[in-house]
């Protein structure tokens, strides 16, 4: 590595041009050799099957699950979970229908209904979707609720949650995902970020178009999604501040138009996700809380 003492003096310290030509040649030669060595190391190191040896996705998944569980524990302290087998069954049946029609493992998506007058639903890390009873009550039918769920599943499938957290909370989120060590304050910040701030426009657009695709494949017409968004945009003007899902999902009208445009040429059977009796029963259970 280190060649010993050399009596060879440095070539030149003069600023005259002609003397620099051999020196420049030497620089170019040595630069090419150094670059070649670097590229060779990179090439050889790139042949090591790191991605097969280390399951990065599993590490990330385990960390995300921890973050999600921490946030859920915190949420349970402030909001009351809906403990009703029927409600859980109905919500899970909608999830299963969307997931199975789109080749998604339903075991990776967890639906948590919470009692709150807030019209809101949001996704937490680890594939956890929180739906407030206020939002279920706001929906006119199971298909509109399915549209919200399809939209949130879209966020999960595109890994928007971790991208958003990384952007807004920085490298600490990534360290938490890999190392798993987090505090209550950290979980509070995650919960606040995900429940009350919007994904960026590109992510929302992506989740919307994915939701349209998911709904169509699950025999649910995406117009239900558009109906809900139109109603949001109308009620947002009438009832400012009461609909949390709108404030975190801005420009509902524009999005509704886009959803309609995307579903224009789709041929969908539109099979109800819940019978009217089941929908009524779920609404009644939630009202009695």
């Amino acid at each position: 590595m280190f060649t010993g003492t050399s009596s060879d003096p440095s070539p030149t310290y003069s600023a005259t041009g002609t003397e620099h030509d051999p020196a420049m040649k030497k620089v170019i030669n040595q630069f090419v050799i150094t670059l070649a060595v670097f590229l060779l190391i990179w090439f050889l190191a790139g042949r090591i099957p790191f991605t097969r040896l280390i399951d990065f996705k599993a590490i990330s998944r385990a960390g995300e699950e921890k973050l999600g569980n921490l946030s859920l524990d915190l949420l349970r302290k402030t909001d009351r979970p809906v403990i009703s087998d029927s409600v859980v069954y109905y919500l899970d049946s909608i999830r299963d229908r969307i997931c199975k029609a789109n080749g998604i493992d339903p075991a990776g998506i967890h639906i948590y209904p919470f009692f709150s007058t807030e019209v809101n639903a949001f996704t937490l890390p680890g594939g956890n979707i929180v739906i407030y009873s206020g939002l279920i009550g706001y929906c006119n039918n199971g298909e509109e609720l399915a549209a919200v769920m399809a939209h949130e599943i879209g966020h999960i499938e595109h890994r928007h949650v971790m991208k958003k957290l990384s952007k807004e909370m920085g490298i600490s989120v990534l360290l938490a995902v890999t190392a798993g060590g987090t505090g209550a304050e950290f979980a509070r910040n995650i919960l606040k970020t995900l429940s009350s701030t919007a994904f960026d426009r590109k992510m929302e657009k992506e989740a919307d178009s994915t939701a349209v695709r998911y709904l169509a494949r699950a025999d649910i017409h995406p117009r239900h999604f558009a109906d809900l968004l139109f109603r949001f945009s109308k009620d947002d003007k009438d009832l400012p501040g009461s609909l949390e899902w709108i404030s975190t999902h801005p420009e509902s009208r524009g999005r509704a138009v886009t959803v309609l445009a995307l579903s224009k040429n789709l041929v969908v059977k539109d099979v109800p996700v819940l019978s009217s009796a089941e929908w009524t029963q779920m609404q009644r259970i939630l009202r009695t809380y």
């Binding site: 600023a15 190391i41 790191f50």
Partner: protein, 146 residues
Amino acid sequence: MISRREFLYVPDDYQSEKASNSYLMSLIGITMGILLPVVHLFSTFFYFWGNRKGPFFVRWHCIQALSLQVVIAMVNVTAFIWSLYILFGPVEITNNYLGYILAMIVFNLASFIFTIYSAVQTRKGRHVYWYLLGPVTDLLCNRNRT
């Protein structure tokens, strides 16, 4: 990779210390625990700027240390930007990316060892001449400039 050569004159203790510090400057970021890829470059640049009118031996080694930091910064910034694309963009972790990170670590480690070796040698008044960066420094450093 590194050779010891005769310099045009024998530097005194003051010059040896100043020249040695130019290498130590590039390690400041590491000792402070700062991992941002350009911090070392800045600290070395500011040290060079402060000594740009200093003795030839000091200037020569400042430029050699700075040129290493420019090369290392380019390698590290590329890895940094690539990592940002993975974290915030649609890019996935690939073997090529991890291979690059490994190559970057090898180059950083090598530069770290060379830098410490050079700092020790120049402190003793010895002239260390690096592969590639020595000839580059010869081209950049004008003896007559005061």
